[in-house]
């Protein structure tokens, strides 16, 4: 089976353009495999990033046929039709071809104070959260973020408002706000309550949930804040 792979080429100020390559595709080939094959046998100048190749590191994120996905986890056979379109992740700075910088992602990430602010920074003891605690139960399924940036690039709100915090940052904030060891909850809630950047800009488009490679229910995390800020002025029962 032959497929035509269109790759968005760009770099150092030049406008992006599509360049296509034809590839013989065996059934188990992933988009990442295809990129390696094209780079080794057809065009050594194409630029793309990867690391683990098994969906753990989040490095190979790119837009595949209009959807933000990990190249190593996307088999060519699951893409309909003969043509495959590979473009760099939207809403991030493009360095060259499919290589982007996550700087805009982490700029929003830092705004929610991602590090835990401990009650006693000088303490030598471990601050343990037990396995069966309320915190572990409430954050089940929310702790697996690999900061791949797929949700950030898929979000329709970020397409028009680059100041929006984004799903990953808000989910991270959830992990800190629910953490019984943390003391910066009030500061975070204020940032999340911002009328133009905060959780209120989420309109439950749920693109983030559709693309998250770890299956995190990001819209639910954001909704948690809307209901908390709404009903209890930041008060939590546990």
């Amino acid at each position: 089976m032959n497929k035509r792979i269109f790759i968005s080429r760009s770099g150092s100020g030049s406008k992006s353009r599509w360049q296509n390559y034809t590839l013989e595709c065996s059934p188990e080939l992933t988009v990442l495999d295809a990129l390696f094959s094209i780079q080794q046998q057809q065009d050594p100048t194409i630029a793309f990033r990867c690391s683990c190749r098994v969906g753990m590191c989040g490095t190979c994120g790119m837009q595949i046929n209009g959807v933000s996905r990990l190249a190593c986890k996307t088999r060519l056979t699951e893409l309909d039709g003969k043509d495959v379109f590979l473009a760099p992740l939207p809403h991030l700075s493009v360095i060259r071809d499919l290589v982007i910088s996550l700087a805009p992602f982490f700029e929003q990430w830092r705004k929610i104070l991602p590090a835990m602010r401990s009650r006693d920074p000088e303490s030598q003891e471990l601050a343990v959260v037990p396995e069966d605690s309320a915190y572990m139960r409430h954050t089940a399924g929310k702790r697996d973020c690999i900061t791949c940036g797929l949700c950030f690039s898929a979000c329709g709100v970020l397409a028009t408002n680059k100041h929006y915090l984004g799903p990953a940052a808000i989910n991270k904030a959830l992990l800190r706000v629910l953490d019984p060891r943390d003391t910066a909850r009030a500061e975070r809630l204020e940032i999340l309550d911002s009328s133009q950047d905060g959780v209120w800009r989420c309109h439950t488009q749920m693109n983030c949930v559709a693309v998250c490679p770890k299956g995190i229910d990001l819209t639910e995390s954001i909704g948690f804040f809307k209901r908390r800020l709404l009903l209890r002025n930041g008060e939590l029962e546990s």
């Binding site: 046929n65 209009g66 959807v67 039709g81 329709g156 439950t204 749920m206 949930v209």
Partner: protein, 128 residues
């Protein structure tokens, strides 16, 4: 430059939530505009029976009846999708959002639309 047929498939699934958002926005804006115009036309009633009935005659035109049926469709879509959004917002339906869109907003919406539009269509358009 991604071919439209690929994008259409994407926005019908997996990104149907985004399509629902577009629909909600567009129908919302249309309805807001309609509301503002509607208040104006209803205000005509304060001009007395002659002026009001004269104004209403303009709306007996089949084009307006069709627009009215269109309005019904837009209201139903916006309202049912709005209910779906509330279910998502209250944390009960994030897992079911796609099924809710197709099942509630589209299927049930179409049924309600037919129930509401058929009488309108039959009595208003064919009797003129």
């Amino acid at each position: 430059m991604i071919p439209p047929r690929i994008l259409v498939k994407t926005y019908l699934s997996p990104l149907i939530g985004m399509t629902a958002y577009f629909i909600q926005r567009v129908t919302g804006l249309l309805l807001l505009f309609y509301l503002l115009v509607h208040v104006h036309t209803v205000h005509e009633i304060s001009g007395g029976p002659v002026a009001f009935n004269h104004a209403m005659d303009a709306f007996k035109n089949p084009l307006f009846r069709l627009l009215e049926i269109g309005l019904l469709g837009i209201v139903i879509l916006h309202a049912l999708n709005g209910i779906r959004i509330m279910a998502i917002d209250f944390g009960v339906a994030t897992r079911h959002q796609k099924r809710l869109f197709w099942g509630l907003a589209v299927v049930i919406g179409t049924l309600i639309f037919i129930a509401g539009a058929l009488p309108l269509f039959m009595h208003s358009v064919w009797e003129r």
